[in-house]
């Protein structure tokens, strides 16, 4: 090819790259600060919320960005949490190293389950993901020496972060630690989904065959994305184990996988911001409503989901983004 065209500025110049870093830091930082100041008594809940948010982000990588149907993602989250719990009980106390253990076990679980699940499409894929989740759940119950069985794995007491900041009973340290981890992970994922690898994954979701025709080896790419997703889910599981000190069977359960998928759909699959807001909105709503009405809160959660599906079928994220764009266009008109 001989053509040259130099009059158009590249789209991703330094300001855009800086924006990519700054926006998550500012938005998540502000949300985190609001949570810390407005709900100082609920920091344990908010810390758990962050762990689950990481699971939803991880799910978004495979469901939203690759179009893989899965209902067994909590298996990765839970296995990582058990691995971290066991590592901690065995004497590895450094929270950063425990995070690494979580990420690594998530990576292994992600690669293994990804290699199985992404070989298929549609319903068989969904059923396989559920089967893997059930298998991991059953094993977790059986292997009580490693998981504590139905009593859960307890006695997880992580050390101080950088040898300075100890975990306190009010979850202040745990909350700020988790928030920092979420920001870092979110920035990394923002870069990843905008990279040629991330774009090609979205291309595979849009048109699998076309992606093959431009030279993409689809299967290895899906496994690789599953691996990355596993790392993120693993970090979420690690945070859960570190902050709560207990890992129960619910960590690997089908219910958690399904709930994460609901949060993703609520926020908008295929968008990191959608996954983030879906996880926050769902968990906050569930928390507030269950406290206000302990008998009928599940009905109210169900009604919320029905309303979202009816009025914003693409999820809250895309609906808000579209509304925002319309407002900006209206504002720009003379």
């Amino acid at each position: 090819m001989t053509g040259q065209h130099t009059s158009v500025e590249p789209r991703l110049g330094p300001p855009a790259a800086v924006r990519q870093l700054a926006v998550p830091v500012i938005v998540i930082g502000l949300l985190g600060a609001a949570g810390y100041l407005v709900f100082p008594e609920d920091l344990a809940f908010l810390t758990r919320l962050i762990s689950i948010t990481l699971l939803v982000l991880s799910l978004d990588l495979v469901v939203g960005y690759c179009g893989v149907a899965t209902l067994g993602h909590a298996a990765i989250f839970g296995v990582a949490a058990y691995a971290v719990g066991n590592a901690c009980i065995a004497g590895l106390a450094d929270p950063l190293l425990l995070l690494a253990v979580g990420g690594l076990s998530g990576l292994v679980m992600g690669l293994v389950s990804g290699a199985i699940v992404t070989r298929f499409h549609g319903l068989p894929q969904l059923v396989l993901s559920i089967a893997i989740g059930q298998l991991v759940g059953a094993l977790s119950n059986k292997l009580s020496s490693l998981t504590g069985g139905s009593d859960g794995l307890s006695g997880i007491t992580p050390g101080r972060i950088f040898g300075v900041f100890g975990f306190d009973m009010f979850s202040r340290t745990g909350y700020l630690f988790s928030l920092a981890v979420l920001i870092v992970v979110f920035i990394v994922l923002t870069r990843l989904v905008a990279s040629p690898f991330g774009l090609l994954c979205r291309g595979i979701r849009d048109n699998n065959l076309r992606a093959r025709m431009i030279g993409a080896a689809v299967y290895p790419r899906l496994i690789a994305m599953y691996g990355v997703s596993g790392v993120v889910a693993g970090i979420g599981g690690a945070l859960m184990a570190i902050n709560t000190g207990v890992v129960g069977l619910d960590s690997v359960g089908f219910e958690r996988s399904a709930e994460a998928l609901v949060m993703l759909v609520l926020g908008g699959a295929g968008s990191l911001w959608g996954a983030l807001f879906g996880a926050i909105v769902f968990q906050l709503f569930e928390h507030v409503v269950s406290a206000a009405n302990p008998y009928h809160w599940l009905t109210l959660v169900g009604l919320l989901l029905v309303a979202i599906v009816l009025f914003a079928p693409q999820g809250l994220g895309p609906a808000v983004a579209s509304r925002w764009r319309r407002l900006r266009r209206a504002g720009a008109r003379p």
């Binding site: 090819m1 158009v8 040629p196 774009l199 979205r202 849009d206 048109n207 025709m213 431009i214 030279g215």
Partner: protein, 237 residues
């Protein structure tokens, strides 16, 4: 990047057990321009799909630059230098123009995008638009540009002008001709606009029911009174 010769020998292919292409042979020299013509449904698209590895290969060989392609997956053929622009365009609808192009870089630097923006300035103007927001002509340009970014040495074009306004057809054919003149790729064109195809190509094959029924220089096809009408069912001025 250098163009590669394509040698197709006794090729048979189809969908499942159904045979569409039968015993077809032809050779295109490196940098050559071949037009594949025929009425609707005779197997032209299937032939290109077979070259790309998208159908069931039932016999014969396909050699690109001396390398046997039969048995390779589509992604391996693309990596071996085959570029395919399908009739359906198949852009990624949820990605922007620029993101679509990035997926075709095959590890090259992003600066390479300027090469295709030079060929298709319209894409540079629309770089922020999503694939689903593009017109048919822009989608065709995008599909072609994305394929070119992979630096193919053999380019397969399946009805690139279908459904496009004449002015867009002119633009696309001008670009394809420019690529052909560069000598960097061998181009095989399937096209229903016979005059444009014959004007572009240096050799042509007419297919009927998956078999080659005529081959030669475009001028010879046009010179024989009534032959185009007989073979293709269309009149040429």
């Amino acid at each position: 990047m250098a163009a590669a010769a394509l040698e197709v020998d006794r090729l048979s292919s189809g969908y499942g057990p159904t045979r569409i292409i039968s015993d077809l042979s032809f050779t295109v020299s490196a940098g050559g321009r071949l037009a594949i013509l025929g009425r609707n449904g005779v197997g032209k698209t299937t032939l290109l799909a077979t070259l790309m590895g998208l159908t069931s290969h039932q016999g014969g060989s396909i050699r690109a630059g001396g390398r046997e392609l039969a048995g390779l997956k589509p992604s391996a053929r693309a990596m071996a230098g085959i570029g395919y622009v399908p009739q359906t365009r198949d852009i990624f609808r949820s990605l922007t123009v620029e993101e679509n192009l990035v997926t075709g870089l095959k590890g090259r630097d992003k600066a390479a995008l300027e090469e295709v923006y030079g060929l298709f300035p319209r894409l540079a103007e629309r770089r922020q638009n999503f694939g689903q927001q593009l017109s048919g002509g822009e989608q065709q340009m995008l599909s072609l540009a994305r394929t070119l970014l992979g630096r193919p040495n053999i380019l397969l074009l399946d009805e690139p002008l279908e459904g496009l306004a004449p002015v867009i057809c002119d633009q696309i054919m001008a670009t394809v001709s420019k690529l052909a003149r560069s000598g960097e790729m061998t181009i095989i064109l399937v096209e229903q606009q016979i005059e444009r195809a014959l004007d572009f190509a240096e050799q042509a094959i007419v297919i009927e029911r998956g078999r080659a029924v005529w081959r030669g220089a475009p001028a010879d096809l046009l010179a024989e009174h009534g032959l185009v009408d007989d073979l293709l069912g269309v009149g040429v001025r």
